[in-house]
């Protein structure tokens, strides 16, 4: 179990109703972490449409959740 912080943006934040939360991650990788949070919050976006970042840098979905890290799920961007 790793306690870490998750950040939510845009439609994910609206669906979760919070901008961030502290979670106990028991998933093997970041993909599994998203799937469990998606089930809890009812996120519409499948993992294939997201990117993931850890501590402010893009990361890979197969990385293991690290205790104390800050994980952000990045929905498709729409700046410009």
């Amino acid at each position: 179990m790793s306690r870490l912080t998750v950040l939510y943006f845009a439609s994910l934040r609206d669906a979760a109703g919070i901008a961030s939360e502290s979670v106990e991650a028991d998933a093997r990788d970041l993909r599994g972490l998203y799937e469990s949070l998606r089930a809890r919050h009812g996120f519409a976006l499948p993992v294939e449409r997201l990117r993931v970042a850890v501590d402010g840098a893009f990361a890979r979905w197969d990385e293991a959740p690290r205790a104390g890290s800050e994980v952000a799920f990045i929905p498709p961007v729409s700046g410009g």
Binding site: F9, A10, R49, I74, P75, V77, S78, G79, G80
Partner: protein, 141 residues
């Protein structure tokens, strides 16, 4: 000079352009994105840009470094607004100086395309009918 930045308030283009002026540069290309009054056939009342600021800054920095590396340009700058914007407001600005216009146009296009495609900024549109939505495009916008 910080080439990429986010701005929570309206910003002036003139001083940014001024920093790109150079006696070695014969060409300057710029792009501005303005808030339109319509999108996909719907009347837009206004919008809000939200960003993951830390990652947006590092990804923006990376894009600018790539532009300097790839194109024969003198300098480049990009500023993206975040927060609430009204119709007609400036949302994003890109300026590029170069010896020749080919490189200036190509780098300017590269920077706006990459910014729209990669920088973690999200647009929340409010429509005239009272509806509102986050834009999460399925293909590169």
């Amino acid at each position: 000079m910080q080439r990429f930045s986010l701005s929570e308030v309206p910003f002036e283009i003139a001083p940014l352009r001024e920093r790109l002026l150079s006696a070695h540069a014969g060409a300057y290309a710029s792009f501005e994105g303005w808030v339109r009054d319509h999108h996909s056939g719907r009347a837009v009342a206004g919008l809000r840009y939200e960003s993951y600021a830390a990652l947006a800054q590092s990804e923006g920095d990376t894009i600018m470094a790539e532009a300097i590396e790839r194109f024969a340009i003198v300098d480049a700058c990009c500023v993206h607004r975040v927060g609430d914007l009204a119709i007609g407001e400036l949302a994003v600005w890109v300026g590029v100086s170069a010896a020749h216009r080919d490189a200036a146009f190509a780098a300017c296009r590269f920077i706006i395309d990459e910014t729209k495609g990669r920088v973690p900024i999200w647009k929340h549109e409010r429509y005239a009918d009272g509806d509102a939505d986050w834009l999460h495009p399925t293909a590169p916008a």
